[in-house]
Symmetry: C2
Subunit: 482 residues, 2 copies
């Protein structure tokens, strides 16, 4: 879809940063977290459970790829607020947005977009759809990724039941039973998902999430099918046969589970999948795998949902990660959030609801966030950030390949497109040690799965930042090797 | 909790509006919706399902209690964006907030608050908690009301299972089964809710929502118990005996359902209830009812959740509606959203999770919205808006009582505290006619239940606005009486 856009590339000086006034590199003054972060965590903990807090940020001072923390440590941020920052910190174009009085009023007077949208909303939605829609005609806006997936399931269930019901209206029994959570009004339908998947933490989204037990234990759930997801061996070139077996194993399970659940009268209405399992471990599958998966889903009259909450928005070097898969037809739904500043999904005409208030909530998104998204899309185009991601990612990946060769007893399985990269450390505790040592050297990364370290920098991450990351990682690996 | 605050009442001129530059009254130039709204709806509908859109707003021109629509109709807004606007449109104090560079940066650099909160976050959270917490020590921030309820359920399930498990750790079987949605890791626990309740539209929240079939039909759900909610007859003074019978019927059902579900090995871990059922029809229950309900919940080792998403924030004339109930002890959880600009909940220490990442998501709220909430709380205090709501509400309710006496064959059952008012029209189609006729005269109200018309104005709604509403309603009732 970027091909539609006339490129207006801004030429940049060698090594110059895309965001002005970035520091030259990280600078760590204290233990991380330092004394100020520790004190603030204690303060916050008195009012709010703060067990997951890592460091406190100073978002007045943070700039570009650099998070400045409460102790004035300057950290090269390879995690970008769990992959949510498209343009890094304090991007000058984002700081300008709400200096425009019209934009400010749109944000402050946040209306209930489903019933009283602003007169500028159709134009704004059009600007978003025309620039980034993944060959799907319709959009629906939400607040976050979990909600996007939850509401997507509703579009899927509505369309699935409509096919079954034909032109008949709801029966009185359906109307009566729906209200009290019982079939046939609340039918036994399900969404198939994959082991290692992460789709959010509200009840429906969580029923399709299967990463760590700690995300799910003690919470009642739905008996929905979970298929094996391919687990590849790396380097890919050396494991083609084993990985093809993984693809087949997963696809066969999908077919089996659809048959099993159809037989036990809980038909599979939809299948949700991440183009790359993110929280679950940067687990990739081949284009061929996804092409076959789409065929199976179609054959079974179900709908295919790509969850691009983490993969969407450019980190893979394409705007949508599933563009890499050369699918015969577009998927039925593509959900998004994170770098988009709000949640939502693109969907086919077939998945449009037939009546008002079936897929609805009070806010239906947030026009202030749509304005930020418009700015992000414009900057991505003007600064050619997808190309930047490809270039910076290629440099980083190349360096990682060198390191995994040199330190093969510690790290392996370098993988991913663009800057959406990860590698494994041989043991879980050692992985945590590497993460902490990197942080102490001023490079903030995320974990994923049991062994993975993932990079999720902003789209303004460049080759010279990659050199810093590689240097620091080499230092850490050398220390571990001693 | 307002008693803690030194009041700093701003004296106001008789009939002067709390927001400067409000028009003197509504002004309707076209059919509502008018040609511009109709055209915009057609435009939007090409990209997004727009079946529920009523009118498009001009949020540059809207001011105070007045929504200016795309056709320049000036509407007195008694619905305030589904009860979400605390200070009306373009309040000068809210327009100032992001002119402050620090606030602007906090908003733009929206961090993942659960892991990398800003160094100013503890102070901001403290300012909110110390001013508005309903006698509960802990807060958790989310994005919307449905998410607040969903995550609340998790706190409830964690605490319930912890009591049962004691100091034992999770078993391997629990860890393994949780990930694939099966007991004992994903145990058969439930939340009890009430007929006519509305708690949101994600799978867990929707399982406790029982308003209209159109909100639920075709969506799989959870077999969770639904108790009768008291349905009062009005005027209350004339129906004390019948209404007490309603209380007893509901409470007996709650006890029965808890016993039944405990027996079928799906224990009730929590009970969720609105202090006034809002979407369901402004259905009230007595303080005594809620006191008894709390006793039953406690006796059964479950937790009581008040959903104050719509009732919270001042519309009832108290900050929290459940303050009217004189409960023996605070409820276990109070959830909020709408007028608070973001979602969240206050909870007891007992409901604090014991480990990180059990109740978690990417954003955990939005610091930009917390800044808006701080401003709203300050303006409420400075302008004494709770007193204003009581005064304006008393005038409006008094006028409604007069109208229901005069037009008893059309309207009845005037009810509610503060400006959180409603009345019934005798037939559903006639109710819709009254709503449309009011809109055409420039007064925008909401429906609720089958027969209800609800008022949900902003907190800056005053007595002189009430006079306008009463005049227009009288005109409509007179027209229907002809």
């Amino acid at each position: 879809m970027w091909s539609k856009i006339v490129k207006n590339r801004v030429s940049i000086r060698f090594w110059s940063s895309l965001v002005p006034d970035e520091p030259e590199g990280p600078c760590v003054l204290t233990d991380v977290p330092g004394p100020c972060s520790k004190k603030l965590k204690k303060d916050l903990g008195k009012m709010q459970y703060a067990g997951a807090v890592k460091v406190f940020g100073n978002y007045q001072k943070s700039i570009g790829n650099y998070l400045v923390d409460a102790d004035d440590n300057v950290l090269l941020d390879m995690y970008a607020q769990i992959s949510t920052l498209a343009l890094g910190y304090n991007h000058p174009e984002l700081l300008k947005v709400f200096q425009d009085e019209k934009n400010l009023k749109t944000m402050i007077n946040r209306p209930a977009l489903g019933v009283f949208p602003g007169e500028d909303q159709p134009k704004r939605v059009h600007s978003v759809v025309s620039q980034i829609a993944p060959c799907l005609p319709k959009i629906n806006l939400m607040m976050c990724g979990a909600c996007a997936n939850e509401q997507t399931f509703k579009n899927v269930f509505i369309a699935y039941q409509r096919k079954k019901r034909g032109k008949k209206d709801f029966t009185d029994e359906e109307k009566h039973t729906a209200v009290i959570n019982q079939p046939p009004g609340a039918p036994n339908l399900c969404i198939l998902s994959f082991a290692g998947a992460f789709h959010g933490r509200t009840t429906g989204a969580l029923a399709t999430t299967h990463t760590k037990f700690i995300h799910k234990i003690d919470f009642p759930s739905l008996d929905w099918p979970v298929a094996h997801f391919p687990l590849y061996k790396y380097p890919l070139g050396e494991h083609e046969r084993e990985n093809a077996v993984e693809d087949k194993k997963s696809l066969a399970q999908v077919e089996d589970l659809i048959a099993t659940y159809n037989k036990k009268d809980t038909p599979v209405a939809g299948v949700i999948v991440e183009p790359i399992q993110s929280e679950g471990g940067n687990n990739e599958a081949s284009p061929k795998y996804f092409q076959e998966l789409q065929k199976i889903v179609k054959k079974n009259n179900a709908y295919l949902v790509f969850d691009e909450v983490q993969t969407g928005g450019g980190g893979t070097g394409k705007f949508w990660c599933h563009e890499y898969f050369d699918l015969a037809t577009p998927p039925d739904v593509v959900t998004f959030s994170k770098k988009f500043c709000l949640g939502g999904y693109f969907h086919s005409d077939e998945l449009t609801p037939d009546k008002p208030f079936r897929v609805f909530n009070t806010w239906m998104g947030d026009p202030g966030k749509v304005i930020m998204l418009e700015t992000i899309i414009r900057v991505m185009r003007e600064q050619d950030l997808l190309d930047n991601v490809q270039e910076a990612g290629a440099r980083l990946k190349c360096g990682l390949f060198e390191l995994e060769e040199e330190f093969s007893e510690i790290m392996n399985s370098v993988r991913g497109p663009g800057t959406f990269l990860a590698f494994n450390i041989v043991k879980p505790e050692l992985r945590d040690t590497v993460l902490q040592k990197l942080l102490q050297k001023g490079v903030l990364c995320g974990g994923c799965g049991d062994l993975g370290i993932r990079f999720r920098p902003a789209l303004i991450f460049q080759k010279h930042h990659a050199e810093i990351v590689l240097d620091k990682l080499r230092e850490v690996l050398n220390e571990l090797n001693c």
